[in-house]
């Protein structure tokens, strides 16, 4: 598994970890730089949950994103960190799909707070779906699993 035959999946895992980790560090950090009430306002525009939920969620969510992302980057409790990120992404995908289906104009998705890149709900949905797939791989697949199950014969 540690030899050349297992190197690719390891690299893929590393790339996915760093990519997802970097995206979520950026997402959590930019949200934290803006007031929580503004993130709550963005959440309210989705018309899914009341203010009694959005305000506490806006205070907690960016910290969860940040901590899970850092653990993913340093590769500590990777499965748990990836599972937390996957759960958040599943929520985002559901929320974005819901506004698209209902035709609600929310302007930007609010994914990176006020300071980060501005994405439309459609763009955010595509990205989040891809990130969700990556997070699920990191959470549920074993690194080098493919080579363990189907070892390449040595020639």
């Amino acid at each position: 598994v540690n030899g050349p035959a297992g190197a690719w999946p390891g690299r893929i895992f590393l790339a996915l970890r760093l990519l997802l980790g970097a995206v979520f560090v950026l997402s959590g950090f930019t949200k934290l730089l803006a007031p929580a009430e503004e993130l709550a306002l963005t959440m309210e525009s989705y018309r899914l949950v009341p203010v009694s939920v959005t305000l506490p969620a806006a205070r907690v969510l960016p910290w969860i994103e940040l901590v899970a992302a850092v653990f993913l980057i340093v590769d500590l409790w990777r499965r748990a960190a990836a599972a937390v990120i996957a759960a958040m992404l599943a929520l985002f995908v559901a929320a974005l799909s819901s506004v698209l289906v209902r035709g609600i104009d929310i302007g930007g998705c609010g994914c990176f707070g006020a300071a980060g890149p501005k994405l439309t709900p459609g763009q955010a949905l595509m990205l989040d779906a891809g990130f969700l797939a990556a997070a699920l791989i990191l959470a549920f697949k074993r690194e080098g699993q493919h080579e363990e199950n189907h070892p390449h014969p040595a020639h």
């Binding site: 560090v25 950090f29 934290l32 730089l33 803006a34 007031p35 009430e37 503004e38 709550a40 306002l41 309210e44 009341p50 203010v51 009694s52 305000l55 940040l66 901590v67 850092v70 653990f71 980057i73 340093v74 590769d75 500590l76 006020a114």
Partner: protein, 209 residues
């Protein structure tokens, strides 16, 4: 925990702590709500225990809803609240800066709040206008009995544009990016839904302090 895991844990904590420190420092530097506006944009006693500083945009529908709630707070807690209006015209609202200019011209004749109410009540009429609604703004001034020539001269003179720009700049310094943003003393509320949900509670809490 293995030594490697301990090292990783230490690294993770260090990174999170560094980012958290940056966040707290950035928030600390941006936290001082100013009441520095002309007296015609103030309402209630300046010595009141609770100040409501409202960053608002005359063309924003959520601001129109919020001003109704603010009015009811002022009536309910008469004499206990100090209200300050600060302009925050958003770029995507075509006529908002013009509306602020008109409200300032009305303020020069001590009718800022009446004009403010009228702009919000008639928002749909002027906000949808394809051309600059100068005529409507002058008509509103007439309805309120403002001196027409003085209003016209003041309105487009640009004399008070700097006040509007200063409000917006100071709002941005406070990380305001959406309207309405209301500061109830040091507590921030963004949007009319949050105001409806937590506004009264924040006022009560501040009055009890």
């Amino acid at each position: 925990m293995t030594p490697t895991a301990k090292k990783k844990f230490g690294a993770a904590l260090a990174v999170v702590a560094a980012l958290a420190a940056t966040v707290f420092v950035s928030r600390e530097n941006n936290w001082s709500v100013s009441w520095r506006v002309p007296s015609y944009r103030q309402m209630g006693p300046a010595s009141a225990r609770v100040a409501l500083v409202v960053y608002s945009d005359f063309q924003c529908p959520s601001c129109a809803k919020a001003q109704g709630r603010i009015k009811s707070f002022m009536q309910k807690h008469e004499g206990k609240l100090f209200l300050v209006y600060r302009h925050f015209p958003l770029e995507n609202h075509k006529w908002s800066f013009l509306a602020s200019q008109a409200a300032e011209a009305a303020g020069a004749q001590k009718k800022f709040w009446d004009y403010h109410d009228l702009l919000f009540t008639r928002q749909e009429e002027w906000a949808k206008s394809p051309e600059a609604p100068d005529g409507l703004f002058i008509k509103y001034a007439g309805e309120l009995g403002l001196e027409a020539e003085a209003f016209k001269a003041d309105f487009k003179s640009g004399k008070r544009d700097e006040l509007i720009r200063r409000d917006k700049k100071e709002g941005k310094d406070l990380n305001v990016s959406a309207t309405p943003t209301i500061f109830i003393n040091q507590r921030r509320v963004v949007g009319d839904q949050q105001l409806e949900s937590v506004g009264e509670r924040y006022i009560e809490l501040e009055l009890q302090r």
